[in-house]
């Protein structure tokens, strides 16, 4: 029982890190970036190759995946994404999903389509068990590690957004770019940084998730649905919304598959439908400036 809860939380946390970058670009920058998963995939592949070819330890690969994906994000934001900001949403959707398909094809061409396996260090492979019977709590060390990393990230993100000068600049730039620019905020730089951090988070999520979710070239399309569910259920105006949504979905998915395996993956969709019928704007939304 508790093990199921634990697995669900770990899975949800992972979804959160993968999706939070999308929530930021979608909610704060009002840009629909369906190529978000491609950045996650980049992080995953980077980790696999840094470990296999360069022999780097797993822990060193995580920040590397973040930085590399963030740099790629910054580069693409500057060159490809920025001209798209003013365009209608449909254009953005078509543009970014095209990018995702290109990423899929490129990885397929250069790396090959087979599953990539991450070899975790020994200390992350074990398992600790507490209690017994219905209250047995079995914790895989890797899942524990994911929970810890993601919890730290959440707190840091929340602090940055709500307490720092950058956070308030970002919120100002989003709510009214013209006035913000008039106040001396460099809107372009703020957006560039935000996009880079969002992509970097995706890269980190991809690196963390390769072990559990698997990694092959179809990754961006395979998990796009999950990102979108997290973002649509959680709402996009805060960090807490996607977090709660990701946890809820993670737990519902794991518990659903455990208790009613016949429903398979459908539990998640059912939950999403119910929540969106109840709150079409997502779980936690404040009225925005627009």
């Amino acid at each position: 029982m508790l093990t199921i809860l634990f697995d669900g939380i770990a899975y949800g946390m992972l979804l959160f890190v993968l999706a939070v970058g999308l929530a930021v670009t979608l909610g704060l920058m009002n840009f629909i970036n369906l190529a978000h998963g491609a950045f996650a995939m980049a992080g995953g592949y980077l980790t696999v190759f840094a470990m296999q070819k360069l022999g780097l330890p797993f822990l060193a690969c995580l920040p590397l995946a973040f930085i590399a994906a963030a740099l790629a994000g910054a580069l693409l934001e500057r060159t490809l994404y920025r001209p798209m900001y003013g365009k209608p949403h449909l254009d953005q959707v078509l543009f970014s999903i095209g990018l995702a398909f290109m990423a899929v094809a490129a990885v397929d061409y250069f790396v090959g389509s087979s599953q990539q396996n991450v070899q975790l260090p020994e200390w992350l492979r074990g398992r600790t068990e507490i209690g017994d019977g219905a209250l047995l709590l079995g914790m895989g060390h890797y899942r524990l590690f994911i929970i810890a990393v993601c919890a730290v990230l959440t707190v840091v993100l929340q602090l940055i957004l709500s307490k720092t000068r950058f956070g308030s600049r970002l919120r100002a730039a989003v709510d009214d770019p013209r006035v913000a620019a008039g106040l001396g905020i460099n809107v372009n730089v703020v957006f560039l940084l935000t996009f880079a951090v969002g992509s970097g988070l995706a890269g980190l999520g991809g690196a963390l998730g390769a072990e559990i979710l698997g990694l092959d070239p179809t990754f961006p399309l395979k998990y796009m649905i999950y990102f979108l569910i997290v973002v649509s259920v959680g709402g996009t105006s805060s960090i807490t919304g996607p977090l709660a949504a990701a946890l809820l979905l993670g737990i519902a998915d794991v518990a659903g598959k455990y208790f009613i395996p016949k429903m398979g993956a459908f539990t998640v969709y059912l939950l999403m439908i119910l929540i969106l019928m109840w709150r079409p704007q997502g779980l936690f939304t404040r009225k925005g400036g627009r």
Partner: protein
């Protein structure tokens, strides 16, 4: 002026001469349309089969009974509607003599009506749902069927201390076949199937299913998932400490696919699977096959898909030889039925009634040989027919 005129005439004559010549040569070609998933999730299947088919042609020459063999490879991304379109194009426009390949069951089924209508033999080199050969009288299979390999496991397990089992299969045609035929045979042998779990094909996380297995505490977990997903199941099986809890993992050979096995790490050691082919099969013919394959494709190790493609080419070559290069659909088909030969996997034959392959099924255990992981065969069940056809 004069010279220009001559040149023009010469050019026109050359053109006029070359045209009937070209089409005559074209008509003499024997075309094989190979429809395979070369990109996307199933791409490893396509690459293995194409590499093996080309290897067969390199080893046996590209002229058979006076006809030049042409291989036309098309990528269907394992999507049935694309398969259907490609098969149609190949049959109608390219006038292929045989269609072959087919990485997944829906793809093979999508092409089946076209094979029937156009009387074109369809050689299935990978897809392994039992019912495929029943979809058209023109289908011949050179790969295997899941009932074939799962039944072998259902026989072996009860004799080796496995009394209770939970089955975990991917929820699609082959998975359902594996579940049904393994369970039936296992129960017939006095075993008990505690629970049958089906996981969605696009399943991100096996944790909840494996936890359920762990709580059910069977003697063993029987797994079928398409190759690729096998590594994830195995890792999480270990992560969950199920081997320490006394649960064994048994599976069909897709889980320990030779193409992937080395990347799975030492956790795979000792997993027992039943399948029709292992790259470590100890026969002279297989050693030759594996060596030649790896020489031509340095980064790949041939797996069961490759052997399906290799033998499929043999079936086509021999049928063409037997028909003395005539190559009509009916005649080819008749010559494919009943072929008996030595394959890299061991002795096989194409059952004339079912057009399905009959072969030995081996029980294998993952072991380390020369620093690499291999499925090492330790037992064999001879001449297994597809149990799905025995009604």
């Amino acid at each position: 002026m004069q010279r220009r005129h001559i040149l023009q005439t010469a050019a026109l004559t050359a053109l006029a001469l070359s045209m009937p010549f070209a089409s005559a040569q074209d008509g003499n070609k024997f075309k094989i349309g190979l429809i395979l998933p070369m990109t996307g999730q199933q791409a490893s299947t396509g690459r293995q089969i194409e590499a093996a088919a080309r290897l067969y042609m390199a080893q046996h020459g590209d002229t058979v009974a006076g006809r030049k063999i042409e291989l036309i490879v098309k990528d269907d991304v394992a999507t049935p509607d694309v398969t259907k379109r490609l098969a149609q194009e190949l049959i109608v426009n390219d006038k292929v003599n045989v269609i072959a390949g087919f990485g997944v069951t829906p793809a093979a089924l999508a092409a089946a009506p076209l094979a029937t209508q156009s009387k074109t033999p369809q050689v299935v080199m990978a897809a392994a749902t039992s019912s495929i050969t029943e979809a058209s009288p023109y289908i011949v299979r050179s790969s295997f069927t899941l009932p074939q390999v799962s039944v072998a496991m259902g026989d072996w397990a009860p004799k080796n201390g496995v009394k209770t089992v939970v089955t975990l299969v991917a929820d699609y045609g082959p998975g359902n076949d594996a579940e049904k035929f393994f369970s039936e045979r296992f129960q017939l042998n006095g075993g008990k199937v505690v629970e049958k779990l089906r996981v969605p094909l696009r399943n991100p996380d096996f944790a909840p299913f494996l936890q359920k297995v762990r709580d059910a505490k069977p003697d063993a977990l029987f797994v079928f998932v398409p190759s690729g997903a096998g590594a994830a199941v195995m890792k999480q099986f270990l992560e969950r400490g199920m081997d320490k809890a006394g649960i064994r993992m048994i599976a069909t050979g897709d889980v320990t696919d030779d193409d992937q096995l080395n990347d799975m790490g030492d956790g795979a050691l000792g997993v027992v699977t039943s399948h029709h082919y292992s790259a470590a099969h100890p026969s002279a013919l297989n050693k030759k096959f594996v060596e030649a394959f790896q020489k031509a494709n340095p980064k790949m190790r041939p797996n069961f898909m490759a052997v399906g493609g290799y033998d499929g080419m043999r079936v086509i070559y021999e049928a063409l030889k037997a028909t003395k290069g005539q190559g009509g659909g009916e005649a080819l088909l008749a010559a494919m039925k009943g072929q008996i030969f030595e394959s890299p996997r061991g002795p096989v034959y194409i059952d004339a009634q079912t057009r399905d392959i009959v072969q030995d099924v081996y029980l294998r255990k993952v072991e380390k040989k020369d620093g690499q992981l291999y499925n090492v065969e330790f037992d064999v069940i001879k001449g297994v027919k597809d149990p799905g056809k025995a009604k």
